[in-house]
């Protein structure tokens, strides 16, 4: 099995569902260490993505991701907009015009997405940001793609599981980037909302391929 545009559209649709379902949870994660708008922003952003996908149905996975990137950057409002926008844009560029994506192409795109987030946000691993979900996810995806038995589903599952573990691991960290860093030590003991929403996005990618 390879990933095609139907998968991409299903993925983005499931992202929108996940953001709507977890809107309140993300807001609550963001309240003590941010400006409590992450859930609302992500929900609004992906609802706008759904509208765009309906308006101009994409023909390739890359086109679907590019549309998503531009929409998130325009509609999310908070820092997640340009960060996720850049991630989707870099992944779209990695996919190119391909009609189908194989395990190696998928891993390359996830690494490109992670690199985009790092370039845009200038955060490193351990700063208590979405990088803490994306870096383990990109690395796990690469390892799974390199495995001879690896298929796209295995790569997606590896990425989602690593992102979820990475998000949980932000709980004890002290934030060094973003709004939470203004709180210093008081940011410890809370999950980073961006890492949490990143895990939701990568989990949705599994659901879309299953």
């Amino acid at each position: 099995m390879l990933l095609d545009v139907k998968w991409a559209v299903r993925w983005l649709t499931m992202c929108a569902e996940a953001m709507a379902e977890n809107r309140v949870w993300l807001i609550e994660l963001d309240r003590p260490i941010g400006d409590s708008d992450h859930g609302e922003n992500m929900d609004r952003g992906f609802q706008a993505v759904l509208e765009k996908l309906a308006e101009t149905p994409p023909e390739t996975p890359g086109a679907a991701l590019k549309l998503t990137a531009m929409t998130l950057m325009s509609k999310v409002g908070g820092a997640a907009g340009p960060l996720y926008g850049t991630a989707f844009l870099r992944a779209a560029t990695a996919f190119g015009d391909a009609l189908e994506v194989d395990p190696a192409g998928l891993a390359t795109a996830l690494v490109a997405a992670r690199d985009g987030i790092v370039a845009r946000g200038k955060a490193e691993s351990g700063d208590k940001t979405m990088v803490d979900a994306w870096t383990p996810a990109a690395e796990a995806a690469q390892a799974a793609a390199a495995d001879a038995t690896g298929n796209v589903l295995a790569v997606l599952v590896a990425a989602a599981e690593a992102a979820e573990a990475g998000a949980v691991a932000t709980d004890p960290l002290v934030a060094r980037k973003g709004r939470a860093s203004y709180l210093g030590e008081r940011s410890a003991g809370h999950r980073d909302p961006g890492a949490a929403s990143s895990a939701l996005i990568l989990r949705a990618a599994v659901g879309a391929a299953a």
Partner: protein, 230 residues
Amino acid sequence: MTVRLVVVSHSEKIADGAVQLAAQMAPDVVMIAAGGTSDGRIGTSLEKVMSALDQAAGGDGVVVLTDLGSAVMTAESAQELAEDPSAVLLADAPLVEGLVAAAVAAQGGADLIAVKRAAEAVYGSGDSGASPVSSVAEGSVTGPGPEFTGDFELINQAGMHARPAAKVAGGLSSMNADVTINGVDGASMTALMTLAAGKGSLLHVEAWGPDAERALNYVGGLVQAGFGEP
């Protein structure tokens, strides 16, 4: 033609207000505010910033001033996606002070890099009263001395306040000369204001470069005319 400015803030009111403030000192500079989201909330929007960059295109380039966090990232994304990314520079400067300094420099005809530098020079004009540019000039004291120097007494009642500082900095930023006034960068409006030079104060002007003589005469002329003020 001049360099144009785009202001990206989380708040529409901050962006509009900053432009309004800077326009008082730089009435001819095109400044476009891109504050808030497209639906009027707090936040930043790529769509809004890209449309501002479009509106500001056609001059001698665009310098973008931003406030915190996502404003910087949205501006960077917009720069990446712009038709000609090299015509768009992001200034790493405090929004309001940086914008005023950039606007004054642009009004004076400074080029793209000089406008960005004028905004960023604001950072260095803290307690020491010296901008990074002037510390470079201090470092070069071992080299050849200034080509032209002069001392002028401030005769206007209010001394070196905002408007005179804007006139001096604006004019100097368009000249091909490095000028220090009492040790600070003469092309930096905020640095000049930190001199807190009142009526009767003496301004010691040193100038280097091809336009050094013209720059000295320019400053001297303004000061001796009391900047056209009582």
